[in-house]
C-alpha cells in the first residue's frame, strides 16, 4: 500500500468521521465567503456612486428621508420651483448644473409608469450665465466645467449619462429603456399622457436604475397637466467636485432654510454602515471558524488517533517512521480542510447570489480569489488543529498498541 492509498482507504472506511470533521469547517467557510462576497460588491457600488455622483447635492423638502439617490423625487412632498432660479441667479461657486424634477405616477397604455417633469438646461443656462458685471465666474480648487454647445452632450439620449437634458419642448418626451421596451416605443412615436399627445424624441439606454421606468417631459408641462402648481419634488445640484460640494451644503442650507440638503455621502451612509458591519462580521466568522472548526477538527483527529492505534502500531512495526505517521494525519487533515474550504466557497458564493440582491440590494457575482482564501484558511486551520493529534499518533509505542490486542 502506498501513502496515498492508505489515506483514501481510511477516508472511505470512516465516512461519518470525515463528514463531521469537514462540516464545521465548511459551515464556517460558507458564512465567511457569503458575507465577504456581498460586502465587496456593496462597497464597490458605494464607491461607484461616490465616483459618479459624489459631487452632487440634493435639495429636498424637509422631512423627506432618502434611501435611493435615483428615486429622490419619488415622494409626495414639494418645494417651490422658485428655489431653482434663486440657485441659478446666486452664482454659487462650484455649482455646475441644476436639475429640478417633479414626479407624477401615470398609466401609459394600461401600464404603470412615472412621468417625470424635468427642466431643460437651456431654460436655466441663461440665468446661470448672468453675473454682477463680471465676465469670469469665481472658481477655486478643481477645474471648472465649461458649457459649450456640443452635439453629443446636447443630444436627448445624453440624459441617461449626464442626468440633465439640454432641450425639451412642451410636448416632447424621452422614454426610459424599460418602458420603451415594454410598450414598444421608438423615437418619433406619439404617446398620450394625461390627456395630451407627446412626441417621443429619444429612448434612453438602460441605466440599471429607476430611470429606466421613467418618462421624461418638460417640467412646466407636467406641472400644468398634474395641476401641481409651480413646485418640484427635488432639485439635483451638480457640483464640480466633492470638496466644493461639501462646502455648498452650508450655503444652500442658509439660502433655502425650508429645505433639506443631502449629499451623496448622506445617502450612502446607511449602506456604508452596513458594509462596515458586514466586514466586521466576516472577521468574527473567521475567528469562529478558527476556534470552532479547529476545535472540532482537533477533537475528531484525537478520536481518530485512538481508534486507529492498532493500525498505527502495525504500520510502525512494519517500518513506518514517526515522520511517516505524522504526515499521514496531516495530509488527511489537509485534504479534509481543502474539501471543506472549496465546498464552503461554492456554498457561500451560491448563498451570496441570493442574499446580495435581497438583503443588500446589490447584484453579486462569485469572486474567484475568495476560493483561494477560503481553501487556504481551511487547510491552515486543519493543519493547526491536527498537528498535536498527529504528533501523538507518531509517538505511539507499537508494543503498547499490540498489548491491547
Amino acid at each position: 500500500m502506498t501513502f496515498t492509498s492508505i489515506i483514501w482507504k481510511e477516508l472511505r472506511e470512516r465516512p461519518t468521521a470525515m463528514i463531521t470533521s469537514v462540516l464545521s469547517i465548511l459551515l464556517g467557510v460558507t458564512a465567511l465567503v457569503a458575507i465577504r462576497n456581498v460586502s465587496v460588491f456593496s462597497e464597490q457600488e458605494v464607491a461607484g456612486k461616490l465616483d459618479t455622483l459624489g459631487a452632487n447635492v440634493l435639495v429636498l423638502p424637509k422631512g423627506v428621508t432618502l434611501q435611493d439617490y435615483y428615486a429622490a423625487d419619488m415622494h409626495e412632498e414639494t418645494i417651490p420651483e422658485q428655489h431653482v432660479a434663486e440657485l441659478a441667479l446666486a452664482g454659487l461657486t462650484g455649482v455646475e448644473g441644476l436639475s429640478p424634477k417633479l414626479c407624477v405616477p401615470i398609466k401609459l397604455q394600461e401600464k404603470s409608469a412615472t412621468l417625470t417633469g424635468i427642466l431643460p438646461q437651456a431654460d436655466l443656462q441663461t440665468m446661470a450665465a448672468w453675473q454682477g458685471g463680471r465676465l469670469f465666474k469665481k472658481h477655486v480648487g478643481c477645474k471648472a466645467k465649461i458649457n459649450v454647445a456640443n452635439a453629443q452632450d446636447d443630444a436627448p439620449e445624453a440624459l441617461a449619462r449626464r442626468r440633465t437634458i439640454q432641450e425639451l419642448h412642451d410636448h416632447e418626451a424621452v422614454i426610459g429603456a424599460d418602458i420603451a421596451g415594454t410598450l414598444g416605443l421608438n423615437t418619433g412615436d406619439a404617446v398620450d399622457m394625461l390627456g395630451e399627445t407627446f412626441t417621443v424624441i429619444a429612448t434612453l439606454e438602460p441605466t440599471g436604475t429607476i430611470d429606466d421606468t421613467r418618462v421624461f417631459a418638460h417640467l412646466h408641462t407636467v406641472q400644468r397637466l398634474a395641476g401641481a402648481g409651480e413646485v418640484v419634488n427635488v432639485i439635483e445640484v451638480m457640483g464640480c467636485c466633492e470638496d466644493v460640494a461639501n462646502g455648498l451644503v452650508d450655503q444652500l442650507g442658509t439660502m433655502l432654510p425650508d429645505t433639506r440638503i443631502v449629499t451623496i455621502a448622506n445617502v450612502v451612509e446607511t449602506q456604508v454602515s452596513i458594509n462596515r458591519m458586514m466586514t466586521r462580521l466576516s472577521y468574527l466568522f473567521l475567528a469562529i471558524l478558527i476556534a470552532v472548526g479547529g476545535a472540532s477538527m482537533a477533537s475528531a483527529m484525537y478520536a481518530n488517533v485512538m481508534e486507529r492505534r492498532r493500525e498505527i502500531g502495525t504500520l510502525m512495526a512494519l517500518g513506518a517512521t514517526r515522520r511517516f505517521v505524522t504526515r499521514l494525519f496531516l495530509v488527511k487533515a489537509g485534504l479534509l480542510g481543502l474539501a471543506g474550504g472549496l465546498g464552503g466557497y461554492l456554498l457561500g458564493s451560491g448563498l451570496a447570489l441570493v442574499l446580495g440582491p435581497n438583503f443588500a440590494g446589490v447584484a453579486v457575482q462569485p469572486i474567484p480569489s475568495l476560493a483561494l482564501i477560503a481553501a487556504g484558511t481551511a487547510v491552515l486551520v486543519s493543519f493547526a488543529a491536527s498537528y498535536f493529534p498527529a504528533r501523538r499518533a507518531a509517538g505511539l509505542d507499537p508494543c503498547l498498541c499490540f498489548q491491547e490486542v
Partner: protein
C-alpha cells in the same frame, strides 16, 4: 389708342403700383411693430441709441418692488444718456414673450436685469438694488460682446492687439475655420490702447503697453481657458478645449487633428 394715351396709361399703372407697394410696406410695419410689446419696443429703441435697458421684473407691488424701482430710478437719474429703466409685470399677458425670452416666469421677484445695447445681460440682481450694483452693471463694449457670445454657449477667442494687427493670429483663424467649431466659436477684437477697455484689461491682467497680440480663450459660463501669444496654434486651442472636457465629440475627427 394713340401713343400719348398709352404712355399716360402706363404712367398711371406705374404710379398705382408704386403707391400700392408703399401702402403695403406701411401696412407691414405696423403689423410687425404691433407684435412687439411696449417693453420690447423700448428695448429696441434703447439698443439703437446705444443705451442699456435696466429691466425690473415684478409680480406684486410690495415694499421690495417699490424700493427696487425707487433705487433704480435714482441710480439712473444721471445716466439718461446711456441707460433707461423699464418695469415689467411678469403676469402681464402682453409681456409673455419677453418673460419667456429671459426665462424669468418662476424667478424670485423683484428681479432686475441689465441688458446691454447688443442684448447681452450684464448683471442680474434679486430683491435688493443699490448704486454700486447699478455701477457694476455697466461693462466695457468688448465685455458685452464676449458676454453675448458666451450666453449663446459659444467659446470666445478674444484677440487683444497691441500692435498694428487687426486680423486674428493664424492659429485662431485656423481654429475658427474648423467645421466643428465654426458655429460654436466667436472671434472678438480689442485694442490695448482703447480707453474704454481699461476695466477689462485689468480683469484680463494684460498690460496696456503690450506690443503684441494676446489671445484670450474663454468659454461659457465664464471660464478663462488660457492666454496665448501671437504664435498660438489651432492644435493648442483644440487641446485646451479637449482638456476642459469639450472636444467636438469625435475622437477621430479629421478636422480636429493638430
Amino acid at each position: 389708342m394713340n401713343l400719348k394715351t398709352y404712355g399716360r396709361l402706363r404712367l398711371l399703372v406705374a404710379c398705382g403700383t408704386l403707391f400700392g407697394a408703399m401702402a403695403h410696406c406701411e401696412a407691414a410695419d405696423p403689423v410687425k411693430t404691433a407684435s412687439l410689446s411696449k417693453t420690447e419696443t423700448s428695448m429696441a429703441a434703447n439698443s439703437r441709441q446705444e443705451k442699456y435697458s435696466f429691466i425690473m421684473f415684478w409680480k406684486q407691488q410690495d415694499t421690495a418692488t417699490n424700493a427696487m424701482w425707487k433705487n433704480l430710478q435714482a441710480g439712473l437719474a444721471d445716466r439718461s444718456d446711456n441707460a433707461a429703466p423699464i418695469a415689467v409685470r411678469v403676469n402681464d399677458p402682453a409681456e409673455a414673450a419677453l418673460v419667456d425670452r429671459f426665462g424669468v416666469s418662476r424667478a424670485p421677484m423683484p428681479l432686475m436685469l441689465a441688458v446691454a445695447p447688443n442684448g447681452a445681460v450684464t448683471a442680474s440682481y434679486v430683491r435688493e438694488l443699490d448704486a454700486k450694483k447699478i455701477d457694476d452693471a455697466f461693462v466695457t463694449p468688448t465685455m458685452t460682446r464676449c458676454m453675448l457670445a458666451m450666453q449663446n454657449r459659444k467659446v470666445v477667442l478674444l484677440c487683444v492687439h497691441g500692435d498694428e494687427q487687426t486680423a486674428p493670429p493664424q492659429g485662431v483663424a485656423e481654429f475658427k475655420a474648423i467645421p466643428c467649431y465654426q458655429n460654436t466659436s466667436e472671434i472678438v477684437h480689442m485694442r490695448v490702447d482703447d480707453p474704454a477697455e481699461g476695466k477689462f484689461l485689468s480683469e484680463l491682467k494684460i498690460r496696456r503697453d503690450s506690443r503684441t497680440t494676446t489671445t484670450v480663450f474663454m468659454a461659457p459660463p465664464g471660464v478663462m481657458l488660457g492666454k496665448y501669444p501671437a504664435d498660438v496654434t489651432k492644435g493648442q486651442l483644440i487641446a485646451e478645449l479637449r482638456a476642459a472636457g469639450k472636444g467636438c465629440g469625435d475622437k477621430n475627427c479629421k478636422h480636429c487633428r493638430p
